[in-house]
Amino acid sequence: MSSDVIIATHDLNLWYNSTHALQSVSMQVKKNNVTALIGPSGCGKSTLLRCFNRLNDLIDHVRVTGEITLDSENIHRPGTDVVSLRKRVGMVFQKPNPFPKSIYENVAYGPRVHGVRDTKELDRIVEESLRHAALWDEVKDRLSDSALSLSGGQQQRLCIARTLAVGPEVILMDEPCSALDPIATAKIENLIDLLKKEYTVIIVTHNMQQAARVSDYTGFMYLGKLIECGKTSQIFEHPNEELTENYITGRFG
C-alpha cells in the first residue's frame, strides 16, 4: 500500500437484515484528493460512505465483514474509539442539518465537545472554519442568529464549517448539493476544490457532471458492487467496463 493512501477497504461486505448492500468492495482513497462515488440510486454508495466513519453502527440489524483501514489501521478492530474516529473522519449530509442553535454555537459545538473551553480559542476556530467554508463574510455580523435563519446553501456551508472546526483528516460528503439550487451548488463545488489542499474529500453524488467537475478519482458502483475505480478522466473518457460506459453515457440509471 503506498503511503499516500489514507482510506482503504478490502473485501468489504455489508448486510441490512438479509439484503446484501455492499458486496466485496475493495478500494483505495488517496490523500488530499477528491474521490467521487457515482452510481444509480440504491447502489450502495451512501452506505459505503457511512462505513468510513462507522455511522452505520447507528442502524439496527447491520452486519459488516471485511476490512476498512484509516492510515493502515483497521477501524473495525475491537477497542476502536468510534468517537475519535469520527473526529478524524468528518461528514456532511445530504440535507443540511444545522443544530437549532446560533450560527456561532453550531461551529463551536465540535470543539466544545472535544474539550476546548477557552473563549478566544473558540472564537478563532469559529472564524477560521467559517472563512474556510466561504461563509464568514455572509454571517460575520450575525453570528448569534439562529442557524435555521440561513438559506439552504448557507446552511450546508455552515455544516461544512462545523465539520472543519473539529480538524478532520477526511471529509465525507453525502450528496451535499442535492437539496441546493445551482448557485449554491457552484459555491459548494468551488469550496470542495479549495478543501482538498488540506483535507481528503470523498463525495457521493448522483450528478455525473458534478463528479467530473470536482473529483480527481471516481468510483462507479452498481447493485452493491464497486464496478470500477480510477482517475476521473479515465473513468469518464475511457471506462474499462461496459456497465460504467452505459451509465456515463446515460443508457440507464
Partner: protein, 651 residues
Amino acid sequence: MDRAGTQMGDPGRDSGRNTAAALRERGIKTLFFCTAATAVIVVAFILLFLLADALPIFTLVGLPDFLLGQTWAPSAAEPLYGIFPLIVGTLLVTFGAMVFAVPLSIGTAVYIAELASPRVKSILKPAIELLAGIPSVVFGFFGLIVLTDFIRVVFDLPTGETWLAASVLLGIMALPTIISVSEDAITAIPREYREGSLAIGATRWQTISRVIVPAALSGIAAAIILGIGRAVGETMAVMMVAGNAAIIPDPIWNILSPVRTLTGTLGIEMGEVAVGSDHYSALFGVAVVLLVITLIINLSAVAILRHIHEGSSARPGRKPLLPAQLKEPVSRSLKYGLIGVVIIFLFAALPVHLAVGILLIGVAGYFGRDRISRFHIEKASFGLIIISALTVLIILVIILADIVINGLPALSWEFLTQPPTDLGRGGGIYPAIIGTLYLVAGAIAIALPLGVGAAIYLVEYTREGRITKLIRTGVDLLNGTPSIVFGLFGFAFIVIYLNVGISMLAGQVTLALMVMPTIIRTTEESLKSIPASLREGSLALGATKWQTISRVVLPPAVPGIVTGSILSIGRAAGETAPIMFTAVVFSQRFLPDSVFDPVMALPYHLFILATNVPGASASKYGTALVLLILVVGLYSAAIWVRTHFQNKIRG
C-alpha cells in the same frame, strides 16, 4: 496546517481523556437503565403486593365463589364475599357510559378533524383539553349536586344516585380521551385519500363516511377501548353518584337502579377495614380483579395503536389483527349487535312512544336512503355532527358555570388563608391548599428524574429488543392501572409494610408512581420528534453519545418535557384515590412538620365535604373552584408552553 494538534492537545492526553470519557458514558447509560427498570420493578411490586394480600381470600372462599358469588356482604354476621354484582355493576356502568360517549365523541372528533374552521378548532380543542383536566372528584361533586338531582326530578325518583347518573358522568369523563385519540386517527389519514375520493365526485359526507372513517377505524376502536379503560378505572366520581348498592339491577336494563362498581367498593370500604382481616383481603381480591380487567383493556388498546403505527410502514408479511376470513363476520355481528343494543337502550331510557318514533325514523331513513338526495343526507349528517360537538361544549360550559357561579361568592382572603372550622363548614382551606402543593411537589420531584431518565434510555440508548419490550409493557401497564389500585398499593406497601404510616411521603411516592408513565410517554414523544439527522450530525463530529444527548437532543426537547411534567402535576393535584388511604386527613389546623406527618389535600377535602358534611354548601363550591382553578391553571400553562415553544422553534 496542523489544527488538530493545537485544538485537541497532545495525543497522549487525548487518549487518557477518552478512557475516562468512555467510563463516564457507560456510567450514564447504566444510570438511565436503572431508571427505566424502575417501571418494571414497580409493576412487579404492585402485582406482588396485591396478590399477596389477596391470597387469603382466594384460599378461604375459592376463586369461583369469589368471582361468581351473588352476594357481597363483608360486614354481615356471616360475611359473604361474592363480587359478581360488583363486576356486573362495573360492566353496566361502563357500557352505559360508552353508549352515551361514543356517538358524541366520534361526532365531535369528525367535526374537529374535517369540518371545523381553524377558529372554531382553536376554541374546541382547548375546551376538550380543559374537560380532560377537570379532576374526577370535581366531576363527582357536580354529579352529586346537579346531575343526580336532575335525574331525581325528571324520573320522579326518591334519589337520583343511579346507574344512569354514573354512566352519564363517566361518559362525560371519557369524552376527552375518545375525542382526542379518534381525532388524531382521523387527522392522520393521508390527504391523498380525501382528494382521491372528492376528485371522483363524492360529496364531503360520502368521503368522510366511506373513506376517512373506515380508514381511521382501528384508531377509533383504540380510542373507544381507552375510554372504556378510563371508565372502568374511575373511582371517585362513580362512587359519589352510583348509589353503591351491591345489587344487580332488576330487570337488567333498569338504568334507574343503583349499582356498585369494583372501584367504588374499594373507595368506600378500604378506609374502614381492619388490616389483615378477611374483609381486607377480599378488598385486595377486588383490586386484583379490577387490575386484570383494566390491564386486558389497556393492553388491547395499546396493541391496536401499535399495530396501526407499524402498519403505516407497511412491512410485508405482517400478520393482520384479524384473519381475513374472520374480518367480515366479526364486523357484521358487531354492527348488528350495536344496533340491537341501541334499540334496547332507547326503550329502556325513553317513554315507549318516543322510542318507537325514533326507531321508525331510523328504519325509514335506512330504507329510504336511496330516494333522498345525497346532498340532503350530507346536510342532515353534518347537522348531527355539529349537534354532537355543541353538546360537548355545552356540557363543559354547564359544569364550569355551575362551579364558578356558586364558588365565587365563597372565595375570600380568609377562605384561602385560614384553617377550617366546624368540620369545614366555616373557616378556610389553607392547610388543604398547602398540603396539595406539598404532595404534588414531592411527587414531581420523585417522578421527573425517574421518568425522564427512563425515556432517555428507551429512545436514545436501546435498540428494540426483549428488554425494551419488557420496559415498555411495564410502562403501559402502569399507565393503565386505576388510580385506586395505586392507592391500595401505597397503603399496603408504604404505609403498612414499610411502616411509614399515613404520611405526606407515602402520598408523594404513590402519586409519583401514578404520574411516571405520563412523564415517560411525553418525554419519549418529544425526544422522538428530534430528527435523527441532528444526532448523526453531532456523532459525525465525534461527539460522544451523552454529549449528543445533553447538548443537541435534550435542549429542543425541553418544552415537550415541561409540558408533560405540568400535565402530570395537574393530574396529581386533582387525584383523590391514591392519597385517600396513604396521606390525608380531613381536618387539621396545622401544617405538617415533616414528610412523615399526614396532610390535608384539596380533592379529599372536597370529597368529604360533599359526601359527609351536610350544610357546607359554600365551602364545598369554594373548594371545588379553588381546585379547579389550580388544575385548570396548570393545564393552561402546559398548553401555553406547548404552543409558544412550537411556534418559536418553527419561526
